[in-house]
Subunit: 219 residues, 2 copies
């Protein structure tokens, strides 16, 4: 019983801190997206393309979460956005208090949106509210169409599923319709955005979705 | 402080149960491998090929761990091996007590080896000793060469890194030498086995490695 109580307290503490983050964002009129996926699904490359193409259109900041290294922040620097790297030192997900500290380090002036790049993990990050407006997730077509049913919580929590690396579809056994059906079995409302950060295919669809969400949240 | 104590107790309980599993395996002269990876790296397909090709050579059993569904066990059935599916119902990793229960359900008579297919997660499974002889991990070339430094524990704990989906190397930006160097920076002794379950490339290398480990453990 002790374990369960501790976990409950942890999640309650996290929910309170997430609420603080939400207030901070509301006061600054800044939208926040929590972007999740398994390792290597292509979050960082998608964000590189996003920062490049959003220059002059929206002012973005990225909070990059990783267990170790500054590799993602380094890849995202020099693209006109504020980028902060958080290292969890072994922990499999980001928590609201880490994001809250990062938000307080950001210059919120003129900022439109913060994108959190969560730790690459299809399980744990979905359990922790960070105070974001939306969660979205990236599923690479190289990971297989059977993932939604096997890892249902992340698909259930996400507003959108970005199907990434679609340039590799000719070379892998991935049934797009089956993957979408499997995702909608756990979350009928999930939006699906197919992209390739490498070929550039439908990056506009992703950017338009993101901009739409930002505008909706800011009223 | 409560959190930390509970986590410590959890890991101590797990270590004790793992020791029980080890004794059970030793008494039955059965080898056990804990196979880990991120989601969609190709563990199940590798095991399908393994069961097919090991028929008549070694008697294998698989314990398939997933959060939900029987999908992996279904894919592995009918290939001459005992297959058990464990569902963690939300938990991001397998623990020794779940594996212990599964081991007691298996018919150990004449069995050479048990392969545990852990939950697809590059973080949490590496923290839990299941009583296995070896840990091995699968990294797909579609996941990117930067993963070892970003998720060091799993690479540190693994005897071997199986680089999977090498048939896709012409279509992705993956530097094999960089990935191996990054893995060896955290674990200088890690063995590297490049395979494609789809084209069949170097499946023999993987099977020979596995057979070698089984023979070594059984003396």
């Amino acid at each position: 019983m002790t374990e369960i109580t501790v976990e409950k307290n942890l999640l309650e503490d996290n929910a309170r801190t997430a609420e603080d983050n939400r207030k901070l964002l509301a006061a600054a009129r800044v939208y926040m997206l929590n972007l999740m996926s398994g390792p290597g699904a292509g979050k960082t490359t998608l964000l590189q393309r996003t920062l490049e193409r959003m220059q002059g259109r929206m002012k973005l900041a990225v909070i990059a979460g990783d267990i170790e290294t500054r590799r993602d922040a380094d890849r995202l620097s020099g693209l006109g956005a504020q980028v902060l790297q958080l290292n969890t030192r072994g922990e499999c997900h980001l928590e609201a208090r880490q994001v809250g500290r990062a938000l307080r380090e950001l210059d919120m002036k003129g900022l439109d949106a913060v994108i959190i790049e969560n730790v690459g993990n299809l399980v744990c990050p979905a359990e922790f509210d960070l105070g974001e407006h939306d969660k979205a997730m990236v599923l690479s077509v190289t990971e297989g169409a059977d993932k939604p049913g096997k890892y249902p919580l992340m698909f259930r929590e996400s507003k959108a599923m970005v199907l990434s690396k679609v340039d590799l579809l000719p070379y892998v056994d991935f049934n797009v319709e089956a993957a979408v059906a499997d995702a909608r079995a756990v979350n009928p409302a999930i939006e699906v955005i197919k992209v390739s950060s490498r070929s550039g295919e439908n990056l506009d669809g992703w950017l338009d979705w993101l901009e739409g969400r930002v505008k909706k949240a800011r009223g």
